[in-house]
């Protein structure tokens, strides 16, 4: 009730994986089979996916889906894409080019490496022109 979605077991496995251990090595450490480590890791990933989807629902509660910025897009091209899409639906975006990039980097830091988008970014917009990045 107090913690997040992930169980202790799941976090344990993710931490070891982050360190580069194999499933077999982890299995030995936590005394179980590698098959079990695999399923624990898998359900951890599933829980993470569900957590993301849950927050996306929150955004969609008062925002509509605008567009998706594909992996590999140059960060500096993102504003033009968003302005274009927003214009199509007659919404004025609340941000100028610079502040939009800053907003994006604040909200999805790990999706921005240097000048490139390194994860697909789903863009939501409210009637007031506020943006959310999923």
């Amino acid at each position: 009730m107090k913690d997040g979605l992930l169980t202790e077991r799941q976090m344990e496995v993710l931490r070891y994986r982050k360190q580069g251990l194999t499933q077999q090595q982890i299995a030995d450490i936590i005394s179980t089979s590698k098959a079990n480590v695999c399923t624990i890791e898998k359900s951890a990933m599933e829980n993470i996916r569900r957590a993301k989807e849950t927050l996306e629902f929150l955004y969609t509660l008062d925002a509509t889906h605008l567009c998706t910025i594909p992996t590999g897009t140059d960060l500096f091209n993102v504003p033009a894409i968003i302005f274009g899409e927003a214009e199509k639906i007659n919404v004025k975006v609340k941000y100028d080019t610079i502040s939009l990039i800053n907003r994006l980097r604040e909200s999805r830091a790990q999706a921005c490496k240097a000048r490139v988008v390194c994860e697909d970014i789903i863009v939501y917009i409210t009637d007031q022109g506020e943006l959310y990045f999923g």
Copy 2:
């Protein structure tokens, strides 16, 4: 397995609430008691909290441990501590004094009573200077 954390029932209640309906009105619409609407809404909020916490954990996975703020520390001393530690490892913190305190209060509300830290706070930092509080 396919959806997010929220059940149909929970999303239903949240949507009606967003429209400004009272719990009683919703109870009538979905044919149950207002007490039940309350618990459904409550568990929806709990699920949202858990979703957020889950993603926070993810961030701590690729952030490194910076330092721990001990219980009893004056909130206004926290930024100086963090700036100092970040400097030691040559990372520029993304926040100024004020926004850092706000960020901390947002993320660990129950660990901040008035001007004092009332629970140990573990501080994580990414290479980009983003902070997470555990």
